[in-house]
């Protein structure tokens, strides 16, 4: 009983800490329960269950906030829907915040009032994490990222060996023994931050090689599980590793790999956590690839990806949360001849269901695959045989949706597709041998070792 009291007290304290101006507005009477958000959520689209609509999910948290802040809370709490925070209620928060919401932001862009439901759900995640009710695997993954820096000597040798082996692979691929995957290069223009695994290193290395870029690869991975936990301490620690590395190497910019949450975090959220402005800028690899194409630093021939029809999945974190809508499309138009849009797309894109760290939470697999049904329908409607996703989480989820809903598509990253279309500068355009792509580009680099985007 005492333990329960302690948990509740701690949760209430955490809620107070997180009671900002935005949160006060989002958890107030602003939500008039009009229901316009209900069928905009992919969970509701997939299940039709009223309990998983954005308004219903947020109401679990809002009722506790109302108990604290609504003017009628003391006299007529039930009248305004205010309620006590209980341990049972907190368990409902876990389902609402970690299982039934990917923080995709589609509800806020479709709310006529502008209710920031994702903020409410993120606050719930933060509170649950503070009282130890967040999913353990997310905490472990976040801690593993932190411990990588703390035990760098242990990891470094192994990592350098891996990079060396990939470098040899790169040299063989481009036919140039001087091709490098540079590491720890002081004064490089770009610090490229990949994910764990070759699939976010090899294609990008090849692009950098062909563009003649000045770059160095990060010792760390881009993913930040502290963000999924809404844990400000862990999230900052994970970002800080890269910030320190970028400052030590004196790079001009940090370029984040094809990873939605890592980009949105590094580009938009993390600068708020530091009390000093950064000396470098942050971009996504998509912006860099787009720039290389526009400046003519790489030549592309879409016929190298011949015979495939492609549709692009807007990752919520890259698009709706990050502002990258046109960059990937410009790249795609340069890489393939048959690009088909899903409907709706861009700001109104439907979440694939794998965001918010859900792909790492095996307990929620069934709910996740069910929530991905609207995306599967969208993909099927395009008739495309290749789905491009610039986020590792999305790619992982789309791969599973492909299997589960028998979509019969290839799921690939944008860099892979771009690499496939690159015309090496030595070869005059139009005279080289075209690579055969019968059913989508080579997937050898898209074998995801563990989704992190």
């Amino acid at each position: 009983m005492n333990e329960e009291k302690n948990i509740i007290q701690k949760a209430e304290e955490e809620l107070k800490k997180r009671y900002t101006r935005n949160m006060a507005v989002a958890s107030s009477n602003l939500c008039v329960h009009c229901g316009m958000c209900i069928d905009q959520c992919h969970y509701h689209m997939a299940t039709g269950d009223p309990k998983v609509s954005p308004v219903a999910k947020a109401e679990h948290i809002r009722k506790v906030m109302k108990k604290e802040h609504d003017w009628l809370r003391r006299i007529f709490p039930r009248w305004v829907g205010a309620g006590e925070l209980t341990e049972e209620g907190l368990d409902r928060w876990v389902d609402a915040a970690f299982r039934d919401c990917t923080l995709c932001q589609r509800c806020i862009v479709n709310c006529p009032m502008g209710v920031d439901t994702p903020l409410v759900m993120a606050t719930a995640r933060g509170v649950l994490n503070a009282i130890g009710k967040s999913p353990e695997i997310l905490r472990e993954l976040a801690d593993a990222a932190i411990s990588r820096e703390e035990n760098m000597e242990f990891f470094k040798e192994f990592y350098l060996e891996q990079i060396k082996s990939m470098e040899e692979e790169l040299q063989a691929k481009v036919g140039d023994p001087k091709a490098r995957i540079p590491i720890e290069v002081k004064g490089a223009q770009i610090l490229y931050v990949p994910l764990s695994g070759a699939h976010t290193i090899m294609p990008e290395s090849e692009i950098f090689y062909h563009a003649g870029a000045s770059w160095t690869i990060s010792m760390f991975e881009a993913s930040n599980y502290g963000v999924f936990l809404q844990d400000p301490v862990r999230a900052k620690r994970i970002t800080e590793r890269i910030v320190k590395e970028a400052e030590r190497l004196d790079v001009e910019e940090v370029v984040i790999t094809e990873c939605g949450h890592a980009y949105a975090t590094s580009r938009w959220e993390a600068p708020k956590w530091f009390d000093r402005p950064w000396k470098f800028k942050v971009r996504s690899i998509l912006e860099v690839m787009d720039e290389y194409i526009r400046l003519g630093r790489v030549r592309l021939d879409p016929s190298r990806n011949k015979g495939i029809s492609v549709t692009y999945h807007d990752s919520c974190n890259l698009g709706r949360n990050g502002g990258l809508f046109e960059e990937p499309r410009r790249i795609l138009r340069a890489c393939v001849k048959d690009l088909r849009e899903m409907t709706p797309n861009r700001r109104q894109s439907i979440c694939c269901g794998g965001g918010g760290g859900l792909v790492a939470l095996a307990d929620y697999d069934d709910a996740r695959l069910k929530a991905g049904e609207p995306k599967a329908r969208q993909i099927r409607a395009t008739g495309a045989d290749t789905v491009v996703a610039s986020c590792d989480n999305c790619r992982h989820q789309l791969g599973q949706l492909n299997e589960h809903y028998k979509l019969n598509v290839n799921v690939v990253g944008l860099a892979e597709l771009m690499v496939n279309a690159i015309v090496p500068k030595k070869i005059p355009l139009g005279t080289e041998k075209t690579w055969a792509v019968s059913n989508g580009p080579s997937l050898e680099m898209s074998q995801v070792s563990g989704a992190q985007g």
Binding site: Y19, T20, R21, N22, A24, V25, A26, S28, N29, L30, C31, V32, H33, C34, G35, M36, C37, I38, D39, Q40, P50, K51, S53, V55, A56, E59, H69, W71, L72, R78, W79, V80, G81, V109, N110, C111, P112, M113, G114, V115, D116, W268, E269, P271, K272, P277, K281, V282, R320, N321, G323, F325, E326, E341, P344, N345, R346, R347, Q348, S349
Partner: protein, 221 residues
């Protein structure tokens, strides 16, 4: 004597009571605004990709563009319902000022036009209430205040229509008494949502505008 008493009572509900109720509303809103402004507000500091200013303008203006959101585009009727309801509410509130303070502009035609607007809002309110009662999606999130506020506004609309259409002293009294009761209750209810609406839309515009998400080019196709 009776008529004189009636007039003085009408005058009381029309002026004194309204001023007291309105003063309370203003005070309550100032407190609400203060309660929001005193809280910490983490600012966006990342370099801009788009315009925050245009974002805020877009955010407020989107109210008038049902095509800017998929929710309103798919439920166009609900947007019309919202528009008519709020236009009627605006007319009903405006009448509480124009009847006592600018009676000369309240010609028969103006009164009838306002009555029609408010009657439209009344019908939309019935539909809203009906939907809230019938829809399982809405029932699951509705509080007693949701039903009461809607019903209360319906009574207010009804008395407004009758007062505007007939101009009779009895309906006028009912109208002004309801208005005062309404003004006293509003700060405690969801009807006060429009105070927070200004903040919410600004926050939305600042964030999404800065990130370059709200410019028309970036809208979905």
């Amino acid at each position: 004597m009776g008529a004189a008493m009636e007039d003085s009572f009408l005058r009381f509900v029309k002026f004194d009571l309204q001023i007291v109720a309105l003063s309370w509303l203003v005070l309550a809103y100032l407190i609400k605004i203060y309660q929001i402004l005193r809280l910490p507000h983490p600012r966006e500091v990342a370099p801009r990709k788009g315009s925050q200013e245009l974002g805020v303008i877009y955010s407020y203006a989107s109210l008038f563009f049902p095509w800017s959101m998929e929710s309103t585009r798919h439920h166009l009727w609900r947007w019309f319902e919202f528009a008519i309801y709020h236009l009627g509410a605006g007319a009903a509130i405006l009448a509480t000022f124009t009847i006592p303070f600018a009676p000369s502009i309240m010609t028969r035609h103006i009164r009838l036009a306002m009555a029609v607007l408010v009657a439209g809002a009344f019908v939309m309110g019935i539909l809203k209430l009906w939907r809230r009662i019938l829809s399982p999606d809405l029932r699951v999130v509705s509080t007693p205040d949701d039903y009461f506020s809607l019903a209360g506004v319906e009574v207010f609309f009804l008395f407004t229509v009758m007062a505007l259409a007939t101009g009779s002293s009895g309906w006028m009294k009912a109208y002004f008494i309801t208005t005062a009761a309404f003004l006293f209750y509003v700060p405690f209810s969801k009807i006060s949502h429009y105070v927070q609406w200004f903040f919410a839309r600004a926050f939305f515009g600042l964030r999404f505008g800065r990130r370059g998400i709200l410019t028309p080019k970036r809208a979905e196709s």
